[in-house]
Symmetry: C2
Subunit: 248 residues, 2 copies
DNA sequence: GCTGGATTTGGTGTATACAATAAATAGCAT
DNA sequence: ATGCTATTTATTGTATACACCAAATCCAGC
């Protein structure tokens, strides 16, 4: 089965992904697609924290060479979704409790601070779009696709931030949300999902009526609720702490 | 001259940089050093906005191959200090007026929001360190090294954010500050520097006495003052706007 | 003399080959 | 039998070669 050595001139037709690519994508878009694929897989916990990401394996799967994979891994590392240890390669980041606190504090500061601006720029079209996103999220939740729901919830928060009109802060929120998804995947209870069913809809309501302060307060409670739902136990796997176990 | 093809076992002794390296740096640190060198050069405006950064040239200067340079350029691109256009290569980012507004709004939100935390964690040692930084900045300013002063000022703000204890937000501030330096370099008046002489010292005073709210308000004014000192004229160089010039 | 197209050239995009290192394993000695 | 050391192996780090695209140049035609 190892037919990987055949050096065809053109880049290999990349054995069908999950969706059929238009083939000769500009290569740049191809990278973007691969980046999204890996990123989504991490966020949806199909790749679990700690999982090693070998360059050869990824290169093989996506049909490009290690060069491109490395580029993507470095980007993911800068976003702190993967950890790059010097000569050990890449692995999915396992967020610590401290990091989790930092991330949620940061969200508290930024997302809440953005609400007044969002309320000001909120129009009918935007509200409709957000409602549709919230609907999809509820649906995913109902059909038991928890991981997908987590990602859709993150998408919702990011879109919200984008509506503030500040691209820089929106980008920050994007990074915070993907890290949050990772945190939820690790510390969240399996049955109990982060964003409660109707929170997002309620939020849209406040924003639609231009009530920025109300939305801000609600967002604050919303985020606090998510954070509170986490069970912050760091199970260490390496070094099973013999000292403590045997009462050193 | 072109003795580069000689495949010596060790990596080439890298023809002395500007400072003599300890030679066999771990390679990782070498990359970091190069990254800093380029980043500083941009922030200090020795590399002006729009300047092209050819991979070959950089590889030649730093004595590593294009592979490493590309990695560094990609990192700088993610931090938005350089712009990477698909087949044209890298160039120093020329911030637009919109971006400048976003960056300063973001700083307003984040840095001000951090002040109470900083005030809470402020000790004698931290205050002394900050005062020393402020001193260096003043000195650079006095000796006419405006670019250096801009960088030192950015360093000050970053250190402040780090003292909040939130590493994630500190990293955001770091990025905002380097972009701000770029903005100052483009839109700032030559003679009139951003951070007024004693602002930073005053700020340390408020923080030292644990007066977080006061520090917050002061920081807000401080940032507003910097932003107000900019002359937001975008001189377009490409397409000299014939329509407008000849009253289309 | 100027415009339009073909050719050349400079520079990036990608793959691959090779070197180096850390982990795993096996062998040896105690 | 166990612990230490040497060899092997698996995987990353780096450089370089080659392909490809875009812009600049040059030539021809009008």
């Amino acid at each position: 089965m190892s037919d990987t050595q055949a050096p065809e001139k053109r880049r290999a037709p990349v054995k069908e992904g999950k969706e059929s690519k238009k083939e000769s994508k500009e290569g740049d878009e191809r990278h973007e697609a691969i980046y999204r694929a890996v990123s989504d897989a991490i966020v949806e916990q199909r790749l679990k924290p700690g999982a090693r990401l070998r360059e050869d394996a990824l290169a093989d799967v996506f049909g490009i060479s290690r060069t491109g994979i490395r580029k993507i891994l470095q980007r993911l590392a800068l976003e702190q979704l993967v950890t790059l240890t010097p000569r050990r390669g890449a692995s999915v980041t396992r967020p610590t409790a401290d990091e989790a606190k930092d991330v949620f504090d940061a969200r508290q500061l930024i997302e809440c601070g953005l609400m007044p601006d969002v309320a000001r720029r909120m129009g009918e079209k935007e509200a409709a779009e957000l409602r549709e996103m919230a609907r999809q999220e509820r649906q995913a939740l109902r059909s038991g696709q928890q991981s997908v729901a987590i990602r859709l919830s993150a998408d919702f928060h990011v879109r919200l931030a984008q509506l503030s009109g500040n691209a820089t802060l929106a980008e920050f929120v994007e990074r915070l949300c993907s890290r949050s998804s990772l945190i939820l995947a690790v510390y969240g209870h399996p049955g109990h999902l982060g964003c409660e069913s109707h929170d997002h809809d309620d939020l849209i309501g406040y924003l639609e009526t231009g009530n920025g302060e109300r939305a801000k307060a609600f967002m604050s409670r919303h985020l606090k609720a998510i954070e509170a739902s986490l069970s912050m136990v760091e199970e260490e796997e390496s070094a099973p702490d013999l000292q403590q176990i045997f009462g050193g």
